[in-house]
Symmetry: C2
Subunit: 159 residues, 2 copies
Amino acid sequence: MDETGFATHDHSGCIEAGLARAGRICAAAGARLTPLRRQVLEILLAEHRALGAYEVLEHLRQNGHPAQPPVAYRALDFLVRHGLAHRIERLNAFVACSHSGRDHAPVFLICRACGAVAEAGWQPGAGQIGAAARAHGFRVEAVVAEALGTCPNCRAAAP
Amino acid sequence: MDETGFATHDHSGCIEAGLARAGRICAAAGARLTPLRRQVLEILLAEHRALGAYEVLEHLRQNGHPAQPPVAYRALDFLVRHGLAHRIERLNAFVACSHSGRDHAPVFLICRACGAVAEAGWQPGAGQIGAAARAHGFRVEAVVAEALGTCPNCRAAAP
DNA sequence: TGATAAAGGGTTATATTATAACATATCAAG
DNA sequence: CTTGATATGTTATAATATAACCCTTTATCA
């Protein structure tokens, strides 16, 4: 499975697959997926929404880890650097990556009602941001693309 | 002038035009462009970059206004609600709007080197975010679209 | 006009998000 | 084993943002 979207699915398999994929990516990159980093990724994978760093910290503490803020931020930073998680700017929060490829440019669909975050791929350089950049002579190095709205599940529940 | 981009231009005229436009928009909307709000807008217009709320606050204080944080945040919130300024999520900062129309969906080009922010219009619903939303059955209500990179001036200066 | 509701602004305190700085521990390479 | 690099633990604090309260100004209308 490359992308989960808002569809319901087997979540335990989803977590296992995410952890396995993370192991492969880190091995290939020569990066160390330590128990702490793995645990933070597991926390993110267990939700289908973005978690704030202090929420992650709370989960760590509930797991018996007496962590201080830098512990969460450093692990999250590692995951983001290696493409295993993404930062959602609009929410000051982090979400597990649900795409396989490295170096993808994601666009996020964030549900206001339930907090779920779907991740879709896109072509940086193509489309309207690319056109605007070319028109201004601007060289794009990173893109933040986040849409807020309502997911189909929540519209079905409260239309 | 509808858009400034990264081109150099007459800045005093730029500020005056922005304030005049703000006056028209507020009059049309029945909103009050009070001296404080006008002053904050003027501070934003005087730079071509995004300013943090505390930077705005610092400018207010230098102008003799003994302001506390809520003063800046409330004025910025007003400007954003009325489309006179935009919040740049990636920077936790605010920039004066450089487009005429109300209810436009902006995309921002943010230069890493000089901090300048250019604003381009776009068609929400069209393009790749719209396509991703349709594919997921997601209803988009607001979009954050921000590109980080280098502007032509900075690439010319340090290629 | 004067009462009154609604909006704006002043101020204090505090919540939330994020990082600097330094000590200790663990790992990988020679 | 030792050494350099990476990771983690810990304290303190910086940076961003808002709650809550009070008073003033503005708009509305009997």
